[in-house]
């Protein structure tokens, strides 16, 4: 599986109290070309991230199916509540099956 170009970034607290609500911000560099854009020259071909997945210790907690309506450099925020330390992993998959991944560990206690 090839890697999606573009730098994925996560922002999440490194530490949290048990049961505390914490914010997870996700951002990736990507043009999200609709294939519809015209600026006088030929439209850039369609190039979209279609799927975002967030896992906590491997279990899916959030997923997004994205269409043409998501802005360039897709940005998403969700809120998690952790009862114990966990590994948060995020993946972005484009229409060609290329994947970018990012991970962060949250120490709870």
């Amino acid at each position: 599986m090839s890697t999606l170009p573009g730098t994925p970034r996560l922002r999440i607290p490194a530490r949290a109290k048990p049961g505390e609500v914490i914010e997870l911000r996700m951002l990736i560099d990507h043009p999200m070309e609709t294939g519809l854009r015209h600026d006088g020259s030929a439209a850039p071909p369609r190039d979209l991230i279609e799927r975002l997945e967030v896992r906590r210790d491997g279990a899916l907690v959030f997923a997004a199916d994205l269409g043409r309506g998501t802005s360039p450099n897709p940005y998403h925020v969700v809120f998690l509540r952790l009862e114990r330390s966990a590994e948060i992993t995020v993946s972005w998959t484009d229409a060609r099956g290329r994947i970018a991944r990012a991970a962060a560990r949250v120490a709870v206690g």
Partner: protein
């Protein structure tokens, strides 16, 4: 046929809607369910300078427990070339039924969001939005 009538009525609440594509996208998202107003909030700016980057926050009322949680949130921009913007799938590991993102908006329109609860009920909210520069075609 009653469902068709309902879908038409539902979309009539959204100004500038009415294309067949909208009804198809809605039907794919929620099937037969009848969306009820309330229990979900949609935050967008009243005027977006740049239609390619419009901040959007969806907050649905839910305890997010295994028995009682929002399972999906669907976002529609009926005035965009492709009205189905995104579908979010939520699981009880989340603390809140809340998602923030940024979307492309082609022209002045009302954005529609639907929250599908685990028990099958569907709540809706919409918000009107003006756009200084469209974000889909340029």
């Amino acid at each position: 046929m009653r469902r068709r009538v309902f879908l038409a009525a539902s979309l009539a609440l959204v100004p500038w809607a009415g294309q067949a594509a909208d009804a198809t996208a809605l039907e794919a998202a929620i099937g037969d369910a009848v969306p009820v107003e309330g229990g979900i909030e949609l935050r967008v700016p009243a005027v977006a300078e740049n239609g390619a980057q419009v901040p959007l926050a969806i907050v649905a009322d839910s305890a997010m427990t295994a028995e009682d949680h929002v399972a999906a949130i669907h976002v529609f921009a009926p005035g965009n070339p492709t009205p189905g913007v995104a579908s979010f799938h939520l699981f009880p590991g989340l603390a809140r039924a809340e998602v923030h993102t940024r979307i492309r908006v082609a022209e002045e329109q009302a954005i529609l969001v639907l929250a599908v609860h685990a028990n099958g009920t569907v709540r809706r909210a919409s918000a009107a939005l003006k756009v200084t520069r469209g974000g889909c075609l340029s």
